[in-house]
């Protein structure tokens, strides 16, 4: 338990099964038995293919959906016990997210300024320097306030909307930021700026970032630790350098092998087929039966088997 207090966020055996339909229900296992910790002031990247459950983990942490089983602790406190309005407000003051699709994150009927107004209304920030502060954070993300404020969402580009959401998060003094495909819509130069901003915030203010991405290079560039997801399970986690330099799980190995390299031609012979990966993973689990989720080295964990 003391270990959990030290971490700003601890996830234990988290699972989420989506159920749709009543008469003939269909079940989707989105997240299965995932455990990890987030230390203060670190960036942890959450990597996995489309549909592997990354966004679902983010939404579970943000209490937007309920877990099917498992626990999430924020500074040692089970977040399921946060129920009343005031406690929830305190939680959201400190745990925030930036969603994957910037177009869907803005109510089309309101001007974009609403995202700032909402947090000022809810969290009781000092309004006397509101405009100044908003202009400041907009400049931080390379936006011209006069050209963005007062606009409707459809009048701005995806990248601009995404930066507005980043600015919103910057306005708040958060402990944990869940950044879902954060910079996917930004051009190279803005990307670097935003990434450096994040790194600066983690260093200066001790903010932790869960950086969801499927860009491996980006994950390597930015994160202290990494989580590799495969079909809803966490298959490898720990120190970024260790995972990238000596991956153990067959899925992780495949992932690093399939990164295109400059100067190397695409060779269909080398292409990993999904069926091949499934087979390799199955075999790996069989060979290591009984080991479960275990350490492969210091701060390096691997899912050896699923029994």
């Amino acid at each position: 338990m003391s270990e959990q207090v030290q971490n700003v966020m601890s996830v234990r055996n988290l699972s989420k099964v989506f159920k749709s339909g009543v008469f003939k229900p269909k079940y989707t296992v989105a997240v299965q038995d995932v455990s990890f910790d987030i230390k203060p002031g670190t960036i942890i990247s959450l990597i996995g293919e489309s549909g592997s459950g990354k966004t679902t983990i983010g939404k579970l942490i943000l209490k937007l959906i309920k877990p099917s089983s498992g626990k999430i602790y924020y500074k040692g406190k089970d977040i399921e016990e946060i129920r009343n309005k005031d406690e929830l407000k305190e939680y959201y003051k400190k745990v925030q997210g930036i969603f994957q699709d910037p177009f869907a994150t803005f109510n089309p009927l309101y001007r974009v300024d609403r995202i700032f107004d909402m947090i000022y209304d809810s969290f009781g920030y000092d309004k006397s320097n509101k405009e100044e502060r908003i202009h400041q954070v907009l400049q931080d993300v390379n936006l011209v306030p006069e050209r963005t404020l007062g606009k409707f969402p459809h009048q701005l580009s995806g990248g601009q909307l995404q930066r507005l959401l980043i600015a919103r998060a910057l306005l708040m003094d958060v402990d944990v930021l869940i950044a879902d495909e954060l910079i996917s819509m930004l051009d190279a130069s803005t990307r670097i700026g935003v990434l450096n901003l994040l790194v600066e915030l983690t260093e200066k203010k001790g903010m932790s970032v869960i950086f969801i991405t499927h860009d491996l290079n980006l994950g390597y560039y930015i994160s202290d630790e990494s989580l590799i997801m495969y079909k809803g399970r966490l298959v490898e986690s720990g120190d970024t350098k260790k995972i990238y330099e000596s991956p153990v799980h067959p899925y992780t190995k495949m992932l690093f092998n399939s990164v295109p390299e400059i100067g190397k031609r695409w060779d269909p012979e080398e292409e990993f087929l999904p069926e091949q990966v499934i087979k390799d993973v199955e075999e790996f689990y069989k060979e290591n039966a009984g080991k479960g989720f275990a350490a492969a080295g210091e701060n390096h964990y691997v899912l050896y088997s699923i029994d």
């Binding site: 159920k19 749709s20 339909g21 009543v22 008469f23 939404k59 943000l62 937007l64 309005k85 929830l88 407000k89 959201y92 003051k93 925030q96 997210g97 969603f99 994957q100 699709d101 869907a104 994150t105 803005f106 109510n107 089309p108 009927l109 309101y110 995202i115 909402m118 947090i119 209304d121 809810s122 969290f123 409707f152 459809h154």
Partner: protein, 287 residues
Amino acid sequence: MAKEFWKKHENLYYAITNKKVIFGLTIFILVILLAIFGPMLTPYEYDEYAGAPYSPPSRQHLFGTNIMGQDVFTMTVYGLRTTLIVGLIAGTIATIIGCVVGFLAGYYGGSWFDEILMSLTNIFVVIPQLALLIILSAFLEVRGIMVMSIIVSATAWPWLARAVRAQTLSLRNQDYVNLSRISSLKVPRILREDIASNMFSYIFMSYILQFNGTMLATVQLEFLGLGPTKGISLGLVMQNAVNWNAIQLGMWWWGIIPGLILTVMITALYFVNTGLDAAFNPRLREM
């Protein structure tokens, strides 16, 4: 002061300055005025012998007279009144039922409650509308305006319920609702600003469509001889005209004028509908 007001009620401003809305609404209001004041302007009763039969439109008989010498203008304005009232009542009932069922089903989407509501709705959807109307009408021997309205609205609500359910379901899972939630916005404000306001224009327009739809359904029923057993309505006027072969006998004014008024009014409402769509949706506003 005025500027502040319009800033707050931007949608209203865009709505009442939209050309299509102005055009459609003007015509619609003229038709309403005709229904309200028409009966006062005419010296005749709708069922009395008012003048020489077969008369084409003239100063005494604006829309001419029919084969029995009844004044077509008088019949039309009285009929318009009934048809409008039935459309209004039936449209309102259908919209309310459709919205309540749809919203509840969508809000509790995926639950038993949702499943039951939707099964019920689907039963109503697959029943052929006209067949149900004919059967119901045949059983009820005395039919007044209210009964007519209920009969018509019984088959008009299901499509709206399904559409509203789909809307609620998708709005509930929108990321902007999630953003409001992690911004600790109060629930009533989320319901109002994120859910209801995104549905308002849709419901408002559905209401117009329901009004049109139920009016047409009413006229259809009347035309088949299943209309109100007493009184007059636009459908009855047209039915009579057809029964008496008005067009073949050269009395175009008997059947065509009432139909034309109905067509013009429904078209006007479609203009209002598309105009409002543009006004409520910032994306469609003409810059």
